[in-house]
């Protein structure tokens, strides 16, 4: 298939359709409103549904309902909207419902601003909602990668029966780049007759399925949490994704950076290399699970003296890096989060 020039937000919408996801519920918010605009036109063409909720809270329960009924479903929002959805996402994790949530981040806290940011790292990887749960979080660095991660997100959500988040900064949504929609990433939804409330007639079963996150019996709740924990442990074993850049050099500094910020770092690394300074980079493509072992291995070489966390937030990722490096090397931070994306020149400095 030939390449098309598309805005990240539109490409994300198209990728969902190409993944066989025909259910999209959302509420508009900058900088991701083009997804809704695009799918409002596109979903009816392919026999899908786009329904705008009255709020993000309502949207999260539309998603819950569709997922509980066994449908492929996704939504997109931006930081404050994701906060509103967090209640429904927690319920879905507890009730083991698969869905894809896209957060095209803007600056915060509060209403913050509408420019690119990576300030929802903690929210996405650690504390999205109440209760003991995690999301599998993927962070694209280009429009093409956003498409591929979208197409992988649905089968991953179904494999784990857990929500998956695509965490992009505002630029990933707003930027136009050439994209291809690889046929090889098309998947069919898993058969979920065993648990989904898809209707006794379509399922041809006599037994009722029940989707719930309420476990009043302490032992039952404990068991449910142990089951969830085992899924998160499995994600850590099987789903870590990362990309290494210039790590075959004798780098003195190891950068850890993700999303658009990592591309700025790549340009900075190239320009420093031209000046005879070697810098390596590990780019986490999954933020949970975090590439702990890979970062530790890359930091634990004699020529590496310092690890730098470079992000468009006030150092949220640094804790995961320190945990990975285990005190073997100092970890420093550089970042900005007013909405300007730091330039390669600033990273070099």
């Amino acid at each position: 298939m030939s390449k098309v020039l598309m805005k990240g937000n539109e490409a994300i919408g198209e990728a969902a359709i190409r993944s066989g996801c025909l259910n999209y519920f959302a509420y508009p918010i900058t900088p991701q409103s083009e997804v809704a605009e695009y799918l409002a036109r596109r979903m009816p063409e392919v026999g899908g549904v786009f329904l705008q909720g009255e709020s993000e809270v309502a949207v999260s329960y539309m998603i819950f309902g569709a997922a509980a009924a066994g449908a492929r479903v996704f939504t997109t929002s931006s930081s404050p909207g994701i906060s509103l959805m967090s209640e429904g996402i927690s319920y879905m994790a507890g009730a083991q419902c698969p869905a894809v949530f896209v957060n095209i981040m803007r600056g915060g806290p509060g209403l913050g601003g509408i420019l690119p940011s990576q300030a929802d790292y903690f929210q996405a990887t650690k504390s999205l909602g109440h209760g003991d749960f995690r999301l599998l979080v993927m962070a694209p660095a280009s429009v093409q990668e956003a498409v591929e991660m979208m197409m992988d997100a649905f089968p991953l959500a179904e494999k784990y029966r857990n929500p998956v988040m695509i965490l992009g900064d505002g630029l990933i949504g707003q930027m136009m780049e050439p994209v291809e929609f690889p046929d090889s990433k098309k998947t069919e939804p898993l058969n979920n007759d065993a648990w989904a409330t898809s209707g006794l007639d379509t399922r041809k079963s006599d037994t009722r399925n029940l989707v719930k996150s309420l476990f009043l019996d302490p032992e039952a709740l404990n068991n449910n949490n142990l089951l969830l924990k085992s899924k998160y442990e499995q994600m850590k074993r099987e789903e870590v994704r990362f990309e290494a850049y210039n790590t075959d050099s004798a780098y003195n500094v190891l950068i850890v950076s993700y999303g658009t910020m990592s591309r700025v770092c790549r340009t900075a690394i190239d320009s420093m290399k031209a000046d005879g300074i070697e810098v390596g980079m590990i780019r986490p493509q999954t933020l949970f699970p975090f590439p702990e072992d890979q970062i530790r291995a890359a930091a634990d070489v004699t020529h590496c003296s310092v690890v730098a966390s470079i992000e468009m937030s006030m150092g949220q990722m640094i804790e995961d890096i320190e945990r990975s490096v285990q005190g073997k090397k100092p970890v420093k931070w550089f970042g900005k989060c007013g909405g300007d994306v730091p330039t390669p020149e600033e990273v070099v400095a």
């Binding site: 930027m175 136009m176 658009t260 591309r263 700025v264 330039t343």
Partner: protein
């Protein structure tokens, strides 16, 4: 080899569109491209700019501090971005709205009165296409055929606008020669 082009003007001048047309033409020629808009609480008449990066390698940072070239469609844009243009680059100036020059002697300055030219063609809305064509003809960042192909594709749903825009391309090419 990497070229970066900053397009800048006010909302309604078709800045985003000509950036997209250039990016699309470059993609068709096999280059890696990225198009990054300024986006904010924008409105018609407000500032509008976008950056197009064209490269034969995968593009690192799509955020550019010092672009190789600038297409300035109004005076505030010229004053804001001209100092950042790389030495040896091209600064295109919309001569209809900008009465000053860039103040740079280390760049190739191309001044074209695109609004008057567009009015002569019969549609003032083609001013942005004239500017783009003049810039492309002078810089050679993409071929003229790729540019025309990209414009035709952009206006595929509005076929009747294509001949006028092709005239605008030709007028832009001529203007780039005369200077």
């Amino acid at each position: 080899m990497q070229n970066e082009v900053q397009f800048a003007g006010f909302g309604g001048q078709g800045i985003m569109l000509i950036g997209k047309i250039l990016a699309h033409a470059a993609m068709e020629e096999g280059f890696e491209v990225s198009w990054v808009p300024s986006y904010g609480p924008e409105m018609r008449g407000g500032t509008a700019y976008c950056t197009v990066v064209i490269s034969d390698q995968p593009i690192g940072s799509p955020v550019i501090k010092n672009p190789r070239h600038l297409v300035a469609m109004n005076r505030p844009s010229l004053e804001k971005f001209a100092p950042a243009v790389q030495k040896g680059g091209i600064i295109f100036i919309n001569g209809s709205l900008i009465s000053v020059n860039s103040g740079r002697d280390d760049v190739d300055e191309l001044v074209v009165p695109v609004v008057e030219m567009a009015k002569e063609l019969g549609n003032v809305k083609t001013a942005n296409i004239i500017a783009l064509a003049a810039f492309v003809a002078r810089s050679g960042v993409v071929g003229i055929e790729a540019l025309k192909g990209s414009i035709k594709e952009e206006f595929a749903q509005k076929q009747k606008l294509i001949p006028m825009n092709m005239q605008a391309v030709d007028a832009g090419i001529q203007a780039a020669k005369k200077d």
